[in-house]
């Protein structure tokens, strides 16, 4: 037995509250990030990822007290992404109790940030989020930023390799084609990046069933799988996902 594949629920946070329907039975206030994170922890989540989708600048700082409150009660790794622009943002989030910081647009705009952050805080806490869309022109995948709205011209696999060279300790790989479709991960994309980079890869985007999680690991080769809606809407618990994966021979923490 070796390293367990990780199951990571993802929470979207807007101005300090969890958004997207969260449908835990018996949960009084589904929007309280501490309560939601604690519930996922109780279910056996291996990590929790918070994605700050706050658009307004005055709501931005509200993620910090959220992370402080969660990290005082939930003792598993916490990753925070969204709106990270400079080293000071990373420091503030780490000091609030985040273990890993994920950056996307800022890494593309300023790759030096990845190197500076890894140098300052260590590669182990620097995650680069790669949002990729199939590129019919090349048959490969292109990197997008700003929530999939902005094309970069970067090849996703080459970019993932480059950010690892700069110091990223993990890749959070999202298929923009699949995100929100519930039709499964882009397995070819996952496999291409997993085989190309020397660091762990978290597959994201498109999970609609437990079978999709298994495919991401067994076919895509992902070290970890991230999902939002299948857990939020109460269709599946992290526990049942792990039981399903274990039956298919995937090593998980139970």
């Amino acid at each position: 037995m070796g390293l367990a594949r990780r199951i990571i629920p993802c929470l979207d946070v807007n101005a300090g509250r969890v958004v997207k329907g969260v449908n835990f039975t018996g949960l009084r206030d589904a929007g309280d990030p501490v309560e939601v994170a604690r519930r996922y922890d109780d279910q056996g989540a291996d990590e929790v990822t918070f994605l700050d989708i706050t658009a307004s600048s005055d709501g931005r700082g509200l993620i910090l007290p959220v992370i402080e409150a969660v990290s005082a009660e939930v003792f598993i790794p916490l990753t925070v992404g969204g709106g990270v622009r400079e080293v000071a943002d990373i420091r503030a989030l780490l000091n609030a109790g985040a273990d890993k910081i994920s950056m996307n647009s800022a890494a593309v705009t300023n790759p030096r940030l990845v190197a500076d952050a890894a140098d300052r805080f260590g590669s182990q806490c620097i995650v680069v989020a790669v949002d990729a869309k199939r590129d019919p022109a090349t048959g490969g995948w292109q990197v997008y930023t700003h929530g999939g709205r902005r094309e970069t011209g970067l090849d996703a696999v080459a970019w993932a390799v480059e950010v690892c060279r700069l110091g990223a300790g993990e890749i959070l790989l999202t298929s923009m084609d699949r995100d929100g479709t519930r039709s499964g991960f882009d397995l070819a994309l996952t496999r291409a990046v997993v085989d190309a980079v020397p660091v762990p890869v978290i597959a994201s985007g498109g999970v609609g069933s437990l079978q999709d999680l298994a495919d991401g690991i067994l076919i895509g080769g992902a070290d970890a799988v991230l999902a939002a809606s299948i857990f939020h809407y109460g269709e599946h618990s992290v526990q049942s996902a792990k039981a399903y994966l274990a039956e298919r021979g995937v090593e998980v923490r139970q």
Partner: protein, 212 residues
Amino acid sequence: MSHIAVVDYGMGNLRSVQKALEHVAPDREVLVSSDPAVVLAAERVVFPGQGAMRDCMREIEARHLRPALQQAARSQPFLGICIGLQLLFDHSEEGDTAGLGILPGRVRRFDVAQRRDAAGQRLKVPHMGWSQVAPTRSHPLWAGLARDTRFYFVHSYYVEPANDAVSAATTTYPDRFCCAVAQENLFAVQFHPEKSDRAGLTLLSNFVHWNP
């Protein structure tokens, strides 16, 4: 009763360690400090760490913490975590750095660039995630923890004690390596108990109640 000191030498966030200790020991005062006097006056000492070994040693020296750490590691219940385990040894391959030399042995980098796991998949560095820990001997800090309980690891270097007798547990990635050491009042682990869910809290609780 005096405080629990979490040694702060400016390398990263110690909040999680502090919060986890407060969680298992609500009646104790947990002080995050870089003051050697606070370390020496503590009832017990936690020595965490992250970042590059060379930077850690530089910051420890800059704060004049070396003598306090060496004394605490001999005299008080002492728990090293992650780099706080690696720093106890003589030497690390990371930046060719001399450590505190409290335990004989060295720190080596995973050499897995070309290695594949049983499924033919490339092994990744850092070793990041939940691996099973197999105690190599009984110890009060393993109380209530089943053999092969999973703990959360994130590291690119591992320790190789010169003396096998100090090893308290092993894990596998991809080869078996020492992931915990114990010697009298000293215990140190490569994994992160403060991030290892209930298993980690059990270990921290055991530490808080340990009277070597």
